[in-house]
């Protein structure tokens, strides 16, 4: 792996980690268990558009592991990793089929998948089947947060085109 690519990935990882930890400090706007804005998904989408899928996946998993070390703890790790991996599995195969200005569609689908994974894990951990009902308000909210996050990712991509072009010949090598 070229040094420039390694540095690029490290920057994306530290960016997403900073966003993840900062977001955890914001009190939840709605008192729904599992609700969050999902801002760190901006970096996952950005990485999926600029790097290989496997590399974007490494950034995601590393961010969740490190994020749990810095803020959440072990139970937060379980919810995040199940949601994160399901979100990635939804976004990664379809992201090439959509133009970048339609990134919000990918983001909403990813957010919904993230919720499904998180609620399923919460059900397994607490063994309380009624917890499944929270999928309904979470899905409603994920449409809004998903669009928001997808648009941020699209703006980020269009603003970093110049930098990316400079880096591309080194990154692709």
């Amino acid at each position: 792996m070229k040094t420039k690519k390694l540095v690029f990935m490290a920057i994306l990882l530290s960016l997403s980690l900073a966003i993840y930890v900062l977001e955890a400090q914001i009190p939840p706007i709605l008192p729904i268990p599992g609700f969050k804005l999902g801002l760190a998904n901006v970096i996952t989408l950005f990485a999926l558009c600029t790097l290989k899928k496997s590399e974007a996946f490494v950034i995601l998993v590393m961010r969740i592991i490190l994020g749990s070390v810095f803020s959440g703890g072990m139970s937060a790790f379980l919810y995040s990793i199940s949601g994160g991996i399901l979100c990635f599995m939804t976004e990664a195969p379809i992201i090439v089929k959509f133009p970048r200005r339609q990134l919000w569609i990918i983001s909403v689908l990813g957010a919904a998948a993230h919720n499904a994974g998180q609620v399923a894990t919460a059900f397994l951990i607490t063994k309380t089947p009624y917890i499944i009902w929270y999928i309904i308000p979470l899905t409603a909210v994920s449409v809004i947060t998903g669009i928001f996050v997808g648009m941020i990712a699209a703006i980020l991509l269009s603003h970093s085109n110049g930098i990316l072009k400079k880096l591309t010949k080194d990154i692709d090598a």
């Binding site: 955890a24 009190p27 939840p28 008192p31 729904i32 268990p33 599992g34 609700f35 803020s71 959440g72 703890g73 072990m74 139970s75 937060a76 919810y79 959509f98 339609q102 569609i105 909403v108 919460a122 951990i125 607490t126 063994k127 309380t128 089947p129 009624y130 917890i131 009902w133 929270y134 309904i136 308000p137 899905t139 409603a140 449409v143 809004i144 669009i147």
Partner: protein, 123 residues
């Protein structure tokens, strides 16, 4: 074209789920026996009808504590050392559609079904 289809789908999902959430939040379960579950196991079973005066107690788990308060209005969590405090903001338990949940501490508060078959579902 495809963007339009997704816009319509997302709008429909938003409206349906939003309306369903409002219904769920207003729903009340007509039951009086509550179960407090920590880490998947029932740690307390309380009949709210048998409560004569308010009292509170703490449920301690591996990751932290939740202080639970019971009075004539019902059961609620008044204090916890979790980061998000969602369980406190949830307020009084009204329905099994909206159980009190503290995800970081793996704690839930729910009503026991009238036929008492909750454990048949979970165990």
């Amino acid at each position: 074209m495809r963007a339009k289809i997704f816009t319509v789908i997302f709008a429909a999902v938003l409206i349906v789920c939003g309306a369903a959430s409002l219904y769920i939040m207003k729903h009340k379960t007509p039951a009086s026996i509550v179960l407090i579950k920590s880490d998947g196991k029932v740690v307390r079973r309380i009949d709210l009808k048998a409560v004569t005066r308010p009292y509170e107690f703490e449920v301690k788990a591996e990751y932290g504590y939740n202080r639970i308060y019971i009075d004539g209005d019902g059961i609620r969590i008044t204090d916890a050392d979790c980061p998000d405090k969602i369980c406190i903001r949830h307020g009084v338990l009204k329905s099994n559609f909206s159980p009190i949940v503290c995800l970081p501490h793996k704690l839930t508060v729910i009503f026991e079904n009238a036929d008492g078959n909750i454990d048949a579902v979970t165990d």
